[in-house]
């Protein structure tokens, strides 16, 4: 595995890795998403970045986060007070896409940057645990996610951390690519329905916008990986 991931250009797997590492990671992420138990923490990860994006948007637009709730099935709930409702609603899926894209990009930039970013996400998770978590299940999920990031920080070989962060980025991005489609269930619930009632633009348009943003982010990462 180490030779497979090696950066040494003299080794064949390294060339293969350099050429196809994006697709290898993407394929690994798709496989992870299909695995029944392994996929659960990654669903929590996407759910957390979705909810924290709502919260950050609330803070940026002058509001504040009252509470963040995460559920075992990957669902989440962000309770905010004040701020611009349109931006807060829109930033859930768009923000998760941005997080996935950013994690992959920064991890690809440099090993040290990947490490620093991992520490920052760990601190964000700890802050969410302390300030916005209010129930046992949310605390547990946040603790598991913080534990995952702590393990990646503690990795002796920073190179693996870089790959892991890239994998996390792609997993978040894949979730934010497909999860908006779950809004089209005819129940008129969720962020799409909220935006539709605010703007009179149908819910499907918002779902398509989110899907396109995630697709563009994925394409951007592919372009970066090709270089």
């Amino acid at each position: 595995m180490s030779s497979f991931l090696s950066n040494n250009p003299s080794q064949k797997p390294s060339v293969f890795w350099r050429k196809y590492h994006f697709f290898i990671l993407l394929f690994t992420a798709v496989i992870f998403k299909q695995l029944p138990l392994v996929s659960i923490p990654f669903n929590w990860l996407e759910s957390y970045f979705h909810e924290i994006s709502h919260g950050i948007a609330a803070i940026i637009t002058g509001g504040n986060i009252v509470r963040i709730q995460l559920f075992a099935n990957g669902a989440g709930l962000c309770t905010t007070q004040g701020g611009i409702a349109f931006i807060i609603s829109f930033s859930g899926y768009a923000g998760a896409t941005l997080w996935g894209w950013g994690i992959y990009k920064l991890a690809s930039a440099h090993e040290q940057i990947a490490q620093l970013f991992s520490v920052l996400i760990f601190l964000l998770l700890v802050s969410s645990f302390v300030f916005w978590g209010r129930d046992l299940l949310t605390w547990f999920i946040l603790a598991v996610l913080a534990g995952i990031f702590l393990l990646t920080i503690k990795l002796k070989k920073v190179h693996y951390l870089q790959r892991l962060m890239q994998l996390f980025g792609l997993l978040i991005l894949l979730n934010s690519l497909f999860s908006p489609s779950s809004l089209l269930d005819g129940r008129h619930l969720g962020d799409g329905a909220a935006l539709a009632s605010m703007t009179f633009v149908p819910e499907i348009i918002w779902v398509l916008i989110w899907f396109l943003i995630a697709l563009l982010a994925l394409y951007s990462l592919y372009k970066t990986a090709k270089r």
């Binding site: 909810e51 709502h54 009252v66 669902a75 989440g76 709930l77 962000c78 309770t79 905010t80 007070q81 004040g82 701020g83 409702a85 807060i88 609603s89 859930g92 619930l189 969720g190 962020d191 909220a194």
Partner: protein
């Protein structure tokens, strides 16, 4: 001797005469006694003087006693029904208003929040 003659004569005469006379006297004297009693009773009846001031004072005392006893009676009856007095109810209500202020504020804050799934 003199003594004995003198002793007999008056005794016999005395015995024969005395019991009739004093009884009669006593019967007669009984009449004046009853008359005296009647007279005394007649004299005591008019001697009861109705003091208007005393009656007024008594009535006043009675009235004040009844007013003092009435709240106690009310309190007792309300306590038996397990109901606090109006004064206590007002005090409890004002106390609860203060304690509900914080709760009301938190509910208002809750109503002003948005949920994003």
């Amino acid at each position: 001797m003199h003594i004995s003659s003198s002793f007999n004569a008056p005794v016999t005469s005395g015995i024969n005469n005395k019991p009739i006379a004093p009884i009669k006297n006593s019967e007669r004297t009984a009449e004046p006694v009853s008359q005296v009693e009647q007279a005394t009773t007649k004299q005591t009846q008019p001697s009861i003087v109705i003091d208007e001031q005393a009656i007024a004072l008594f009535k006043e005392n009675e009235a004040s006693q009844s007013t003092q006893a009435q709240p106690n009676k009310e309190k007792f009856s309300s306590a038996s029904q397990d109901q606090p007095s109006l004064k206590n109810e007002t005090a409890v209500a004002s106390y609860q208003t203060v304690s509900n202020l914080a709760q009301r504020e938190s509910v208002q804050q809750l109503l002003g929040v948005d949920l994003f799934a």
